[in-house]
């Protein structure tokens, strides 16, 4: 089950501030709702996890992030993330190219082009909600990215400010919506009564 998503998000900060944030993969990962880097293998390879618990649903994905390219000239990063859920019944991968550029309205823009693939149980029962789910996650990511950029723009030490975690509640809520959409879709395969 593969979907392709192309998105542009306006940012408040300058192109160079945004690029400073984007080229730091660990920072980028922490903008992903519920995600964290658990191990730095080398400068281009990381291990990470996404853990979500919403209502009755528990999902934990563990995986690898491989940076394919960091192109400061074009303010572009290309990375591939692959993971499996902890029960081994589903896998997901994302081939993401993200870049920042001068914005049309705001100061700058974040562009994301992602191919997201889901296989296994989630693809059997929830695959067709992929677009909505991926959209939601990416939107939440952009929000986090933007707010972190806003926070860092006024700071002496952008990296330090940026590393402060976002309020957990906000992240969970963001995911809650997306995952609930997915759960709901899965449920919708069964008779429609609660």
């Amino acid at each position: 089950m593969q979907v392709t998503i192309n998105k542009v998000f306006p940012l408040d900060g300058s192109v160079s501030d945004a690029w400073n944030l984007l080229e730091n993969i660990e920072q980028v990962a922490s903008c992903m709702p519920g995600a964290e880097i658990t191990e730095t293998v080398d400068e281009n390879n990381f291990k990470g996890s996404v853990k979500v618990k919403i209502g009755p649903m528990h999902v934990a994905f563990n995986g690898d992030i491989a940076v394919q390219e960091i192109n400061p000239g074009e303010h572009r990063v290309h990375l591939i993330a692959k993971g499996q859920d902890s029960k081994g019944t589903s896998s997901a991968s994302m081939d993401l190219t993200a870049s920042v550029r001068a914005g049309e309205s705001g100061a700058s823009e974040l562009t994301g082009d992602a191919d997201v693939t889901v296989n296994g149980k989630l693809a059997n029962f929830g695959g067709r909600m992929m677009t909505q789910v991926a959209d939601q996650i990416l939107g939440q990511f952009a929000d986090n990215f933007s707010s972190r950029l806003g926070a860092s723009a006024g700071s002496e030490d952008p990296a330090q400010t940026a590393s402060e975690p976002e309020p957990q509640v906000q992240e969970i809520n963001g995911l809650k919506f997306a995952w609930q959409a997915l759960i709901g879709f899965i449920k919708s395969f069964f008779t429609s009564k609660a």
Partner: protein
């Protein structure tokens, strides 16, 4: 006459003898079997369609209290059981060996105290996979650079069914005179061509597959209760795989909750349960869930064909040509016993006198579940009938000839039987033209066409579908069919008891067809004993004579014939005993319904009951006592039932919903044993045809993930969707069958599918539509409507 009626024999719509237990909840199905100390198995399955197995960690599962074992390919290897032969000459992984080749493939089996613990433990088996690109489209599978699905076959130019030309190629099969066919096409006045798809579907009987394996370590004997349409074959396969002598293997098919082809094959779950029982020394039950059933055991069809007809300008067909890619999934587990990889596809010239034909099928591997079963049909007969019955409509439209008329012009005529078809069959009997006229008249075909014309003028969509099909069933002559070298005979053993009741044991196995009733009726008529007093037993290999099972509409053509022959042997002996009792010579005696009497002296009588008693105390000198016989019947030919179906549909041009206004089915299955049961079989077969034509589809996404493998999405019509059925019949006996019977249960499925399709396409014929692929869901039909702009 009265005595005849009392027998409730052939031709009588007697009530079924099996019903009392079913209506009181006393049937015994495999999942009802509960043995002391029994454990439960749960299969751990691959979430991916194509992946390498990096590692399997059983520790957490084994640590769960109540778990007895977790078996994987590694455990089966020392026993040589990690792969097993398929019925199609290929091999199939019992548990995935280093890689998985389809989603939900069997990777491990957990054995635990009960199904609850087994389910928990299956979740705890940790398998690490490295995903590989998956192939779901057979055309793409044949690309030069396609990923290799079966690494185990790399370098082998043969996979059990002849030469293969590509790593994902299984076989090429062809039949007919290619050159003559090509020439006929070159010189034809008119030709038509269509891509004809039979999508992947699943038989989905109400009961899923399962078994209870019980190995007795003390006696070294194995008993398996199993959902099998062919228990004797299972016994032979178990022996070949395990080395346990056949005399110590007992296979029991108890009551079977529907088969429809799903229960012919031998599945990894069975093998794992058997091995587990042997290793653990305790009975092991394995029952698949509905999701597992739809996803893994036995798909049908998946034939991607191109059909062509050549004809003269009057619509007389001069040649037929066909090529298909047959998607067999990851292993060629095509469950069919003929000597040809495409089964009986060569019946594709149908009811028509076609001078030359050529058909070719290439088998292909994909990352989908293995199989290729005959879903309520003989082997690839649905695909064949679908081809010819669709194509003749395409030709009719091209030439603007009425669809009934074009059939009249091409029918094999009654005086041409026995008829030699271009692809090598000898049709035993048929009488198509009068049957067609009977149906057209019953349905007021002319009136319907008139109404259609009026409706079209108003922008309404009404379709009339015809299907005038011929089947080939009753596999089969052993010269044409065998399973693992065992010829396709079938058997019956009859014992008449001293007081005149009897038991018969059969090599076939009923799955709802009513064998306990119909075989008893045959014996009743042949022996003059009431069918009430005749017990039929099937499915226990310890007691029944060897037989090849029930599928391909073979029970009546083969098992029924064996029954008649065994009964006739008994009657011949009985005649001698009667003569002895009446003190005349056997030639001076006549059979009269239920008794013998001396010719010319109707009062000198011995009833069969009296003879039965005498058989145990007063037989002619030199004669063995007892009254029993066993017959192994190898039929001289297949049988060729036919039918004329007519379907009227109305299509909602706004939603694409098709409503079946009328479905009229005339079947000719030769002589009829129990008309009530025949009618029931036809209703059921039509409903399965309706399901296939209008909604069933096993679909995958591009990565091989199954879509819609629960009964929410997989279409099994309910009372509400199912149309009303009208049935009719003619009788054209088979000349070679002892009872003149032909077999009926599959005709409605085989003939019904193209009839529905023909009706749907006919609704759009005036707009130039010649073919639309199944299933004709509202969505798919609407697409046609919308493309044509008919919804505005």
């Amino acid at each position: 006459m009265e005595r005849q009626e009392q027998l409730q024999g052939i031709g009588c719509s007697r009530k079924r003898k099996e019903d009392p237990r079913f209506i009181q909840g006393k049937g015994l199905y495999v999942d009802d079997v509960k043995l002391p100390g029994m454990l439960c198995g749960e299969v751990v399955r691959s979430p991916f369609a194509h992946a390498k197995i990096v590692s399997i960690n059983k520790e957490k599962a084994l640590a769960l209290p109540g778990v007895h074992a977790v078996i994987t390919a590694e455990d089966l290897k020392p026993l040589g059981l990690h792969w097993m032969p398929t019925l199609a000459g290929d091999t199939q992984a019992v548990l995935a060996d280093e890689k998985v080749c389809f989603q939900m493939q069997e990777v491990a089996m957990v054995i635990a105290d009960d199904r609850y613990i087994a389910a928990d433990a299956a979740e705890l088996v940790e398998v690490e996979y490295e995903q590989l690109p998956a192939l779901v489209d057979p055309h793409k599978a044949m690309d030069a650079d396609a990923p290799i699905i079966r690494e185990d076959l790399v370098g082998k130019d043969e996979a059990g069914q002849g030469k293969r030309t590509h790593n994902n190629h299984i076989f090429t099969w062809d039949v007919g005179d290619k050159d003559a066919t090509d020439r006929a096409f070159e010189s034809a006045e008119v030709t038509v061509r269509e891509d004809i798809l039979n999508p992947r579907v699943h038989p989905s009987p109400m009961e899923t597959c399962g078994c209870v394996a019980s190995f007795d370590k003390v006696n070294g004997s194995l008993t398996v209760h199993i959902t099998s349409q062919a228990p004797h074959i299972v016994r032979t396969v178990v022996t070949l795989l395990s080395g346990i002598p056949e005399s110590k293997v007992r296979i029991i098919s108890p009551d079977i909750g529907g088969g429809f082809g799903n229960k012919v094959g031998i599945y990894p779950g069975y093998v794992c349960a058997i091995v587990s029982s042997i290793v653990l020394g305790r009975p092991v039950k394995w029952i698949e869930s509905r999701i597992e059933n739809i996803s893994t055991t036995a798909f049908a069809r998946d034939y991607h064909g191109v059909g062509e007809l050549a004809a003269d300008k009057d619509g007389r067909i001069t040649a037929l040509r066909f090529h298909a890619l047959a998607d067999h999934g990851a292993f060629n587990a095509h469950a069919q016993p003929t000597k040809w990889p495409a089964g009986l596809f060569s019946i594709c010239t149908g009811s028509y006198d076609i001078p030359v034909a050529y058909a070719r099928v290439d088998g292909v591997y994909t990352n989908k579940a293995p199989g290729g079963v005959a879903y309520r049909c003989s082997f690839r007969v649905t695909e064949a009938v679908y081809l010819i019955e669709r194509m003749i409509d395409v030709l009719a439209q091209k030439l603007d000839i009425d669809k009934a008329e074009i059939r009249r012009r091409n029918f094999i005529q009654a005086d041409q039987f026995p008829y030699q078809s271009a692809l090598g069959w000898e049709y035993d009997s048929g009488n198509y033209a009068p049957a067609l006229e009977k149906v057209l008249e019953a349905c007021d075909y002319e009136g319907l066409r008139k109404e259609q014309t009026e409706k079209r003028a108003n922008g309404e969509l009404m379709g009339i579908g015809l299907c005038t099909f011929t089947e080939i069933v009753g596999a089969g002559p052993s010269k044409a069919c065998d399973v693992l070298g065992v010829g396709m005979f079938d058997s019956c053993e009859i014992r008449v008891h001293p007081t005149g009741s009897a038991i018969a044991r059969m090599g076939t196995i009923t799955q709802g067809q009513g064998h306990e009733t119909t075989y008893a009726q045959i014996i009743a008529t042949e022996l003059g004993l009431s069918s009430d007093d005749i017990q039929i037993e099937e499915g226990d290999t310890d007691t029944a004579p060897y037989g090849l099972g029930t599928y391909g509409s073979r029970s009546t053509p083969v098992g029924g014939a064996a029954t008649a022959m065994a009964a006739r042997t008994i009657r011949a002996k009985a005649q001698k005993i009667a003569a002895h009792l009446l003190e005349v010579s056997p030639e001076d005696i006549e059979w009269d319904v239920d008794r013998f009497h001396v010719k010319g002296n109707p009062d000198a009588v011995k009833t069969m009951k009296e003879v039965a008693w005498a058989a145990y105390n007063n037989v002619p000198e030199g004669m063995e006592m007892g009254l029993e016989s066993v017959n192994y019947y190898d039929p001289p030919n297949f049988t060729y039932p036919f039918g004329i179906y007519l379907c009227v549909v109305d299509i909602d041009r706004h939603t694409g919903e098709t409503s079946i206004r009328r479905f009229y089915a005339l079947d000719d299955c030769g002589n009829r044993i129990n008309p009530m049961i025949i009618e029931g079989q036809i209703h059921g077969g039509l409903n399965e045809a309706f399901a296939v034509a209008m909604g069933q589809l096993i679909s995958f996404d591009e990565e091989g993930n199954l879509q819609g493998n629960t009964l929410m999405d997989y279409f099994i019509p309910t009372f509400v969707e199912t149309p009303h059925w009208e049935t009719d019949y003619t009788v054209t006996p088979s000349p070679h069958h002892p009872l003149g019977a032909k077999g009926v249960a599959e005709s409605p499925h085989v003939g019904g599918i193209p009839c529905f399709s023909n009706a749907v396409v006919d609704a759009f014929a005036h707009k130039g539509v010649t073919h639309v692929d199944m299933p004709h869901t509202a969505f798919n039909v609407w697409k046609t409507i919308h493309e044509l702009g008919l919804d505005s």
